[in-house]
Symmetry: C2
Subunit: 274 residues, 2 copies
């Protein structure tokens, strides 16, 4: 299966895609918008995108893109995020003066930087890309923070493993496919949907009341602004199903209260994702 990811080869998305499909051929894209476009144009069979990290929160841009494209969620998967300090082979911790990585990864390794005050953190656009750049520069005073996959991809050496502050660091990934190519799960127990309410008093509460009145087990609720309509929001909700037949009721009821309702996918919850 061909799978698009955002970021360089060796990224956590690459790790997640191989976990979901060990035989996958990976197509790296610089921008998330390109990932979604590749799926929509049929250039790849699917894409694996991070949607939420247990420490950093939601990847807002991916919620926006899910709604804008005719794609749907086929599966979800959790990846434990383990940050590694990666340097040129043979480098030691004492050689290193500058460590680059994505700002979120740097922020998740704050303790490491506190304990190594001679080392400067340098923001870079991508975790795996920071390893690639460090290898190309061939500079012993440089290192990068990224996945083990990135070390093996670019021939870097792991100097320290698991340098993240909080081991309860997981990212939730979606496998998305074009709606007409979706292979739906036969026993879904989780639904993701988006809905928008008009900017009038009481509309948001009326929509939320649907979940309450149905006894829906709402697990996540996220809001995003509507471009061009200040202080109007699209809400993204995940709810659990005890019975696959029960999936439709909240969707139908919401439709009568909302200016827009769209199902983004129904799938099996990943172990530990609730």
């Amino acid at each position: 299966m061909s799978i698009a990811i955002q970021g360089e080869l060796g990224s956590f998305s690459h790790e997640a895609a191989l976990k979901m499909n060990p035989q996958a051929t990976i197509l790296p894209c610089s921008l998330s918008a390109e990932v979604f476009a590749a799926v929509e144009r049929g250039e790849v069979e699917g894409a694996v995108i991070p949607i939420e990290n247990s420490l950093a929160g939601s990847v807002s841009e991916h919620f926006d893109l899910l709604l804008r494209h005719t794609v749907a969620i086929e599966r979800e998967s959790l990846l434990r995020i383990r940050h590694n300090l990666i340097a040129l082979p043979g480098s030691t911790l004492g050689d290193i003066r500058r460590v680059s990585s994505h700002p979120v990864a740097l922020a998740q390794c704050r303790r490491f930087f506190e304990e190594h005050s001679k080392i400067t953190a340098t923001p870079f656009y991508d975790t795996a890309g920071s390893v690639k750049q460090m290898m190309e520069a061939g500079d012993r005073s440089m290192a990068a923070i990224a996945s083990a996959q990135a070390a093996s991809q670019y021939g870097g050496e792991i100097v320290l493993s698991g340098i993240e502050d909080d081991p309860e660091n997981y990212t939730r990934f979606f496998l998305i496919r074009r709606r007409d190519r979706l292979q739906p799960d036969a026993h879904p127990d989780k639904v993701s949907l988006a809905f928008a309410v008009e900017n009038r008093p009481g509309t948001l509460v009326a929509a939320l009341e649907v979940f309450a009145s149905q006894g829906t087990n709402l697990i996540k609720l996220e809001s995003r602004p509507v471009p061009g309509r200040p202080w109007e929001y699209v809400f993204y909700a995940d709810y659990q199903l005890s019975d696959p037949e029960a999936a439709d009721a909240p969707l139908k009821l919401l439709a009568s209260h909302c200016s827009m309702v769209r199902e983004l996918g129904r799938y099996r919850a990943a172990a530990g994702a609730v």
Copy 2:
């Protein structure tokens, strides 16, 4: 009044702080955590922080910090975000090859970059900082995207004004103060609060039902992860008050359904912020 802001002098936060208090003395801080710490330690009388942009969405880090510090919201204010192309005095559009700014500002001026394909967008950590850097470099091929305040702060010249794609671009700012120094509004009509629910089926819906049962006009609802507890969330809600006396009822009712409830402030809604 002394006011801390995140970012360099000339930032949109600087503009917002002067709009709220024209006589303010501004203390620029590199990190948002430093801004909150300065307020808490009493080094400044308050801080002005962006909380939400009508296009980019919430500034998640500031929600997290509001909860972690003994500060409260005293006022809110809206600023229309107008992006300007700023260069060395005398530079023309034809001279410019590279434009740096904060990634969010670059993303909000996509049309400008499409129409000027010879110009490369370069991400920088701060909008005003990108003007400062450009002026220091003294390079005619460079420009920056930032506020008019930044141009006057660093002596840059506005080559093009209002280059943002969407004119409906507003940022909502809070003036925060230490809780013991708060000067509360006598006629508040808006409340901001945070609450957390336990990770058990139905807890989120039960909390939301409080707003429904009280006929509360909920205007915004935002969620953030709880560090160290994957897939547990803190929710941030804003609701409108028709009567200042009605502020307490939802707070009290929520307390019986939630593992944590905290009022972040009650204040007058800014014109246009609903």
